[in-house]
């Protein structure tokens, strides 16, 4: 038999293939959660939290086509909301999470308002202003009673509650890992359901052609503000957990600054903007490849260009070059590349609906090009 093999979407083999793939990914995380050491699990947890924020950003940037370089502000807002409520008001950390989600959703919707009028570079500029204003606010003395100013809020902790199978301080890393995994999975399920629905199509319609979208009956303002809100809420919950895991918040935490916004955007693009698995793959590459690259060389970076970004030294350059190469060879991100590779082995045929009234004489041609989604 010749390659690629044909598999009909929704057929038994297609299901088996999906299950195996999904099972392998699940197995990886379960094994990691059970057997990896403390620092390994810690890094994997960070990766999941970044991926969660990237899932939201992907809905906004990849699917709906609205650029945002302000998502570090939502990540930070979530983090500070939890930190303030726990650190200043003595809340139980778990109860601060819903507050973070709702607050970030609301602020996200308001911040989404400029997107109703601005496009492209102009929207990007406004969102950059958001990211920088946010760090300024964190440093502002007038708000220091709330945010702790430049010092931030320290000594946060979220011990596993008694109903969980985790054993207090000893299992802290695992507790955060499983919590992050569950939150990531929920956010991915929401995003994936959305993408495959009428609302998801209206998001893509807004990205592809606003005028036509409106003529089809899509309420542009509603779609843009709601997606802004949702993506902010996902960044917010990720930030909340991140703060508890870090046990502190302060204005210089990289993911609360503009760098964080850029990193999240890099993850979305690396993984494959618009695709359901893109954010996870993107965050994975970002965290682990950057980690590997930073080992390539040490130092303060060429002309101090990468100073303070943690990707100092040669590592920064290696990572930067790698980024450029990936974007060149894989314009649809790593997921696009993986799809292309898979298409050499297995071709997934569409399953056209059975039509009672129209004789469906011709078999629809399989999709030829890999587009997002």
């Amino acid at each position: 038999m010749a390659w690629p093999k044909d598999v009909r979407r929704g057929s038994a083999w297609h299901r088996v293939g999906q299950l195996v793939l999904f099972g392998l990914v699940a197995l990886f995380f379960i094994r990691a959660g059970l057997t990896w050491n403390r620092s390994g699990i810690g890094q994997l947890t960070d990766m999941l939290l970044f991926a969660t924020a990237a899932v939201g950003l992907n809905l906004l940037v990849g699917v709906t086509g609205q650029i945002s370089l302000g998502h570090s502000a939502f990540f930070g807002l979530g983090a500070y909301t939890s930190a303030v409520l726990v650190g200043q008001y003595g809340w139980t950390p778990g109860w601060t999470f819903p507050v973070s989600i709702v607050l970030c959703f609301a602020v996200g919707m308001v911040v989404g308002l400029p997107a109703l009028r601005l496009k492209g570079v102009y929207l990007a500029l406004v969102s950059i202003a958001l990211a920088t204003t946010f760090t300024q606010l964190l440093n502002w003395d007038r708000l220091a009673w709330l945010t702790g100013g430049p010092i931030g809020i320290k000594g946060l902790s979220y011990l596993p509650p008694s109903w969980t199978p985790f054993d207090g301080r000893a299992d802290l890393g695992k507790w955060f890992f499983w919590m992050s995994l569950v939150v990531f999975v929920i956010c991915t399920l929401i995003a994936s359901s959305m993408i495959r629905s009428r609302f998801g199509r209206s998001m893509v319609a807004v990205r592809d052609n606003e005028t036509a979208a409106a003529v089809m009956g899509v309420n542009l303002a509603a779609v843009k503000t709601l997606v802004f809100g949702l993506s902010a809420a996902m960044a917010g919950i990720a930030g909340s957990i991140f703060a508890m895991k870090l046990t502190l918040v302060e204005p210089v935490v990289q993911f609360f600054t503009l760098f964080g916004s850029i990193f999240l955007l890099v993850m979305v693009v690396l993984g494959g903007a618009g695709s359901t698995w893109g954010p996870l793959v993107g965050a994975f590459i970002f965290v682990y490849v950057r980690d590997w690259a930073s080992g390539v060389g040490e130092g303060n970076g060429v002309l101090g260009l990468f100073e303070g970004t943690r990707i100092g030294g040669l590592g920064g350059i290696v990572f930067g070059v790698l980024l450029i190469v990936i974007v060149f060879v894989a314009p649809f991100g790593a997921v696009g590349l993986l799809r292309k590779a898979r298409a050499k082995v297995v071709r997934v045929l569409p399953r056209p609906p059975a039509l009672p009234t129209v004789a469906n004489a011709q078999e629809p041609q399989p999709p030829t090009t890999v587009v997002s989604g």
């Binding site: 009428r198 199509r201 592809d208 999709p367 030829t368």
Partner: protein, 253 residues
């Protein structure tokens, strides 16, 4: 009864008077041809009905309702669908997805229900089947799973019609649907327009330069020039109108 009443509509773009007090009516079930030289204001008229352009003066009534009170995204739900002269498709979507997006106004899974996956499956199934049927009808079913990007112009013109039909409209506005089609395709298109009108009881407003096509299928023709109506009547009357002949001087009407 009139489905669409255009009353004294004027549109200005800076110094250009694109529409200057245009008025005409379309009756239920009619195919109304709208003709006129390039720049006469036909597309502008469509854009006023779609609420893309705000008229400086005048009123547009759809079954008695003032369309100027309705936001752009509310037009489709009233039963008005249109195609675009210069294509306004969703390039990254497949033909099937494009057509399903055309059916947006027939569905009701919004933000919350899509996130919680409530009622999504059944709606997707219905929209997919209906969209596929429309694609099959326009001979596009074999291309259903191809992205719109990069397909030939003639194919995409037909996709425009498929997407508009997916909205199950009662008033269909077609902006030069035959441009870029071959001779036999034009005949086929005439037949399709006639068929869907009869089958779904549509009212159709057709902008077209293809005179034999317009004259062949229209119940009534409105001729425009410089944003004004210069003639109105049966195809036969309009064809022999001295103003129309003057406007098309040199071209055969």
């Amino acid at each position: 009864m009139s489905v669409l009443q255009v009353q004294d509509v004027s549109v200005r773009f800076g110094g250009i008077q694109a529409l200057a007090g245009l008025s005409f009516d379309i009756d239920e079930g009619q195919i109304c041809g709208l003709i006129g030289p390039n720049g006469a204001g036909k597309t502008t008229m469509f854009n006023v009905v779609s609420r893309i352009y705000e008229p400086t003066e005048g009123k547009v009534l759809y079954r008695g309702q003032d369309l100027l009170d309705v936001p752009a995204h509310g037009i489709a739900r009233l039963g008005i669908a249109r195609t675009f002269q210069n294509l306004a498709l969703f390039p990254t979507m497949t033909l099937l997805q494009n057509t399903m997006t055309g059916a947006h106004c027939t569905g009701n899974v919004g933000f919350v229900r899509s996130a919680l996956r409530i009622g999504v499956r059944s709606e997707e199934k219905r929209m997919e089947a209906e969209a596929f049927e429309i694609l099959a009808r326009l001979g596009l079913a074999p291309l259903a799973y191809r992205p719109a990007m990069g397909l030939p112009f003639g194919t995409l013109k037909r996709l425009e019609i498929a997407r508009a039909l997916a909205a199950k409209p009662s008033l269909l506005l077609l902006d030069e649907p035959a441009s870029g089609l071959t001779h036999s395709e034009v005949d086929e298109l005439s037949e399709t327009i006639h068929d869907v009108r009869d089958q779904f009881g549509l009212t159709v407003l057709l902008v077209e330069h293809h005179m034999s096509m317009v004259m062949g299928i229209s119940d009534k023709v409105v001729a425009m020039e410089f944003g004004r109506k210069i003639a109105e009547g049966t195809p036969h009357e309009v064809r022999n109108d001295p103003h129309v002949i003057a406007a098309y001087l040199g071209t055969e009407v």
